[in-house]
């Protein structure tokens, strides 16, 4: 699933480790989500969206 996590993280000036710490997940998980190798669970997707003050739909997309 495509996502905007990397763009949002860089815009917030955060490293993967810092974002991971803020979201209570590992740096590897953030990296896997950004490289679109791992799709987060719905609860984690909501936490990410809330963290960036946006919606899940604006961060995660499924190509038609």
């Amino acid at each position: 699933m495509r996502n905007e996590v990397r763009r949002l993280r860089l815009a917030a000036g955060l490293s993967q480790r810092e974002l991971g710490e803020q979201l209570s997940v590992s740096r590897q998980t953030i990296n896997s989500i950004e490289t679109e190798k791992y799709d987060p669970s719905l609860p984690l997707a909501i936490v990410i969206a809330r963290h960036f003050n946006t919606t899940v739909e604006e961060i995660f997309h499924v190509d038609p």
């Binding site: 997940v25 998980t29 896997s32 791992y38 936490v47």
Partner: protein
Amino acid sequence: MWTRELTARQKTGTLLSVLILLVVVVGVGLLLREHGPGNMGTGFLQGAAVGLVAFAVVLWRVSRAPDKASSFERAFTSSGDERDDDLLTRALAVLGLAAFPLTGAAAVAIGLGAEVAMVMFFLLIAQLAVGVVAYVVIARRS
């Protein structure tokens, strides 16, 4: 989500589990030394000691710096996030599938006259190898 450190409840549970495991391992080891063939009891105790030391190292690493521990170490101690748990689940699923043909091959080898102790040793090593390789490959891909 993951817990950055082991909680007091997790620590207590882990300590209790280790104590129970120790009692069981020593009990079985002594029984095997008394009634098992050859050096089976001694070998069992040595193997268990190595396993317990490895487990203690994993616990120490996860307690000291969970972010520097590997995914496997975090998942193994139930302190990992959802990706860590997912990786471990998928690796164990591969191991579970591989266990059937491996055990079948071991049974055939014994049927053809291979020494049972040797076959059991190689079966254990093969299963460990499958688990490790599956985990590493899945971790790299996800």
